[in-house]
Every structure is written in C-alpha cells, then in structure tokens.
Symmetry: C2
Subunit: 216 residues, 2 copies
DNA sequence: TAGATTGTTAATCGATTAACAATC
DNA sequence: TAGATTGTTAATCGATTAACAATC
C-alpha cells in the first residue's frame, strides 16, 4: 500500500492545499466528495487529483468517491502533521512574532518550544506563552530540548553564522525567512527558504505585464 | 526584441531569484558573469538560465557573458520594479506590521500609501511612518489615492467581504496572507495567495519522509 | 443490474537539458 | 586567429491530461 517512492515535488506541494480544503469541508459537515467536485473547487483536473492521491494509496471508493474525514486524516498522516516536532524560533521582531502566533493557533506538524533574540528590549517578553530567551543560552537550551527545526526570522547578516551554530547543535531542518538562501550548503539539511519579496516581485511582474491593462 | 509572449509561470517565478542574486553581485562589485557561474550559484543549469533570459531578449555577449549591472537592471525592468504601484495594507497585526516594514526597506515595485485596521487599539498608531487608519475610511481614501494593490493581513473570516469591497473600489491586484484563497473569483484580478502554513506542512512532510532519517 | 467514480495505463503536452552554430 | 560563451534548435525528460477498464 505505501507505494511512496520518488514522489515529485509538485505533488508534495499540492498536498497541503488538499489538506486545507478537506479540513474546511469536514468542518462544514461534508462527508463525501468526488475528484470532479474537488477539481472544480481547487482549479485542478480530476485526473490530476486522482493521480496525486494514488501516489500514496487508494483512498477512494470506486463508484462513490472519497470520504472527506478519512481522506483528510490520511493526508495529514502523509504530511506527518501529528509529529509535533520541536521547533525553536530565532528573531522576535514583527515577523518572528507573527510566525510564533501563526504556529501556535494552527499547530500543524510542529510545537514551538523556544524563542530567542539578541536584543535586550526583546529578551524576557512573552509571545504566545513563551518567554523570549537570550540567544546566548541557545546552546544550553538545544542540548537539553533537542529541537528538530529552527525558524529563522533574523536579518540577512545574521543567518550564516546562526545556521552554522544551529547545525552544530544537530538541527537539520530550517524554515528560513531571512533574505539569504541557506540552500544546499549542508548536504543533509532540509531547508524551506521563504522569500516574501519574490512573491511580491512576481505580483509586480503580473500587473506590469497583464494583457488586460497593457493598452498596447 | 521584446519577444515576450506566453512566458511560462515557471520562468516568471525564477526572475526574482535572478534579480536578487544579481543585485547581490553588483553590491559586491562583480561586473561580469557567465551562465555557467550563475548556474553553479543558483543550483540551476546554465542552459536553463540562458533559455530563461532569452525569453526576454539577448542580454548577453557571446564569448563574454553577461554584464551584472545591465542584466540586473533589465530584469528589474521586466519585473516592472520601478513602477512603485500604490498599495494599501489591511490588518495591522504582527504580520501586517512585519510586511509593512518589509515593503518599506526593500521597496521593490510598490509604495505603501495606507494601512488600515478595525481595532481601536491599532488605529492611530504609526508603523514605518504611516498612521494606521480606521477601516471605515477605506472608501474615501481609495477614491482619492486610487491604489493598485491591496495586501491582506486579516483573519480568514474578514477576507471575503473585504476583497469584495476592495474590488468595488477598483483594486484588481491582491497579495493575500489570510488563510482563505481568493483565487479565480474575479476573472480580471491578479492574486498571490501566500500560504505560510503550506510551506510549513511541506517542511513537515520532508522531515517525516526524509530517507536520511527514516530508519526503515 | 445500471450508474457512478475510482485506479491506472497510455497519450499529450510542456519544461528542462543537451548540443552546437553564431559571434564576440 | 583561437577561446569562450552566448543564442537557439533539437532531444529528452517529466508532469499533466485523457481514456477506460475495474469495481463499488
């Protein structure tokens, strides 16, 4: 049943969308859905959805469709959302604070166990139930808590040395919001570089080159 | 020279990365770079980079490579970054504040002209030089300023009515951080839905299914 | 049983890579 | 001129779509 091999990144990136939508349906009390209905709502083809889901196993019932609740749970399991991996967040600025709240009210896959900053003004403050710790205590904390993941909300200049430090502490998974890619530096690390600026520039491209508005 | 037709989305999504990297190079004083050097740094093939750039015109010099400064400027122009489109931001919570700062210190394509919120505690506060306005004054403000884009940093429940309101005010471009997709509702609107949670869940999938750590 | 809808294979489409002629 | 590297075409690879047999 777990065929799972060589799942392409494009499929993986669609899983959270499926999951979110199914969760919404479940909340609404919908029990059953067909790939055709799903496709209409998500703007994909029914074929693609069936193809995607079948990478992981046959979750549907022929002639009937998919059970919303079951499918949602299955995808949640595939994503590994119940693991509650321990995560630390570095940088308690606005973005850090926003992420910290985000994570807590939509705890999907991770538990935030520590927040760190180097500014005296931030240290000691409470964000979402966690006290902001002095970055100097990072080593002690990590050796004790053994977090799996680090969220980086620090300025570009701080990332390089910080990621080295975290890597040395055994962290192999980074959610990076700084404007500095930490891709492929460490062969065995998993990195998500989130570039909000890239998204903004893409938007800019799209307005600028929109056939609707370019008069020419 | 401007061949620009049917540029695929995958190419467009790579443009900001090129732009960022070239800007960095320029700051470092690098004047010349070949597609091969670029490819090594960006983790792409030289072929792909040349292919991408040639969608928009021949910016290189055969036998020599690309002028960093010129190429950076060209890509900036393609992206339309100098337009400084007027943008309003709705929702002055942590995320809104983070974005507002983001936009201002890395002004690429847009100028933030107004910030709005509905909470008395937020209204009147100053974020990055802009005073948070009462959401009730949105219509008056937009009729005057005619912003092009709206950044949505509001809870899911608020998005639907808010986007309708903004659409009615002539806004056709949305940068949406709420957990509610406003895709394809309005045929002529340009939308970037940023789902930070999707990125997080993808990360969770990748740790959970990492061949490095799954013992089995 | 008939109708519906999945699971899965085959066909198509598009994006990436390779190759090389053009040319600085 | 020789060396290097682009611009561009052709080949390959992978992802999406279409089709249909399996089956609930």
């Amino acid at each position: 049943m777990p065929k799972r091999e060589n799942i392409s990144m494009s499929v993986i990136r669609r899983l959270p969308r499926y999951y979110r939508f199914l969760k919404l349906l479940r909340e609404k009390g919908v029990t059953r859905i067909s790939s055709t209905e799903l496709s209409a709502k998500l703007g994909l083809t029914a074929s693609q959805i069936r193809q995607d889901l079948n990478c992981f196993g046959g979750f549907g019932q022929q002639g009937y469709g998919y059970m919303v609740d079951q499918l949602c749970t299955e995808i949640g399991n595939i994503l590994g959302l119940s693991h509650a991996y321990k995560a630390v967040l570095i940088g308690a600025g606005n973005l850090g604070q926003a992420i910290a709240s985000h994570l807590s009210f939509e705890t999907e896959g991770f538990t935030l166990v520590g927040i760190f900053d180097n500014a005296d003004a931030k240290i000691g403050r409470t964000i979402n139930g966690l006290t902001v710790r002095n970055i100097d205590t990072l080593e002690r904390f990590c050796n004790l808590e053994k977090p799996t993941m680090a969220v980086l909300c620090v300025p570009r200049s701080a990332v390089e040395s910080l990621s080295d430090r975290l890597y040395a502490l055994g962290i192999r998974c980074f959610w990076n919001f700084s404007h500095y890619d930490i891709n492929m530096k460490y062969g065995d690390a998993i990195v998500e570089n989130v570039h909000l600026n890239d998204s903004l520039m893409t938007l800019c491209y799209r307005i600028t080159n929109d056939p609707m508005r370019t008069t020419k």
